[in-house]
Amino acid sequence: MAKKIQITNNIRRLRFFANEMTQQQLAEKVGVSRQTIIAIEAGKYSPSLELAFKVAATFGVNIGEVFDYEIIE
């Protein structure tokens, strides 16, 4: 049986290093609601690949630096 994975992210840290970018500012840049950014940051929602790339592009980093995964046993 395929193992389950948990998507983790560094958005909070990346926002901090991007001049304390607010969740609202990030939401506007990637074209989603602030609620969605909150959910992604809290690990309550795994974004689509398109949105994940948009977030990474906003911070000017690779997607792997924004999102990572953990295998759940």
């Binding site: 609202q24 939401a27 074209g31 609601s33 602030r34 609620q35 929602y45 795994s46």
Partner: protein, 168 residues
């Protein structure tokens, strides 16, 4: 609480009110003997009436909800930043109302739950005919299952907004 959660609550209130109004109205009429168990015409007209009332009530409650939301956002923004103008307030309201991929996913999942509830209601309604109940029982089961289906769809939305949602 986000705009979408508040809207789901407003819709839940609407469906609950319609359901309660329908149950109270028909129960009273039935007790007074105005509607007989087999009077298909009366039951149909009552249900048609409540479909109309439901649509009007849903529109009115949504309008009231959006007015109250705009007032609440304006007051909140003015309190937070006394010098903010109408454009900024408008921008805040619009950014709250954005429908993105997460909202669409939640809507899709909640619609699936609503559809399942309606399907169960439909099968139950058919079963009532097999068990020789009156046709009006079938009609009532189907109407109530539509209302409960809508209600459970909104409840599911609220649940996913609180708990979170994953693809797949």
């Amino acid at each position: 609480m986000s705009y979408h959660e508040k809207r789901a609550i407003a819709s839940m209130i609407t469906w609950t009110l319609i359901l309660l109004a329908y149950c109270t109205y028909t129960f009273r009429k039935y007790q007074l003997g105005v509607i007989a168990t087999d009077d298909m015409k009366s039951w149909s007209s009552t249900i048609l009436l409540f479909i109309g009332v439901g649509i009007v009530a849903a529109i009115i409650i949504q309008i009231l909800f959006h007015i109250l939301l705009s007032v609440a956002v304006t007051v909140q923004e003015k309190k937070r930043n006394g010098t903010c103008d109408d454009k900024e307030i408008q921008k805040t309201i619009e950014s709250d109302m954005v429908t993105d991929e997460m909202n669409q996913l939640i809507e899709l999942k909640s619609m699936r739950i609503a559809f399942i509830v309606v399907a169960i209601g439909f099968v139950t309604a058919l079963l009532s005919q097999v068990l020789n109940y009156s046709s009006t029982v079938m009609l009532n089961i189907m109407f109530v299952s539509f209302l409960i289906g809508s209600l459970s769809g909104e409840l599911t939305q609220l649940y996913f907004y609180r708990k979170g949602v994953n693809n797949g």
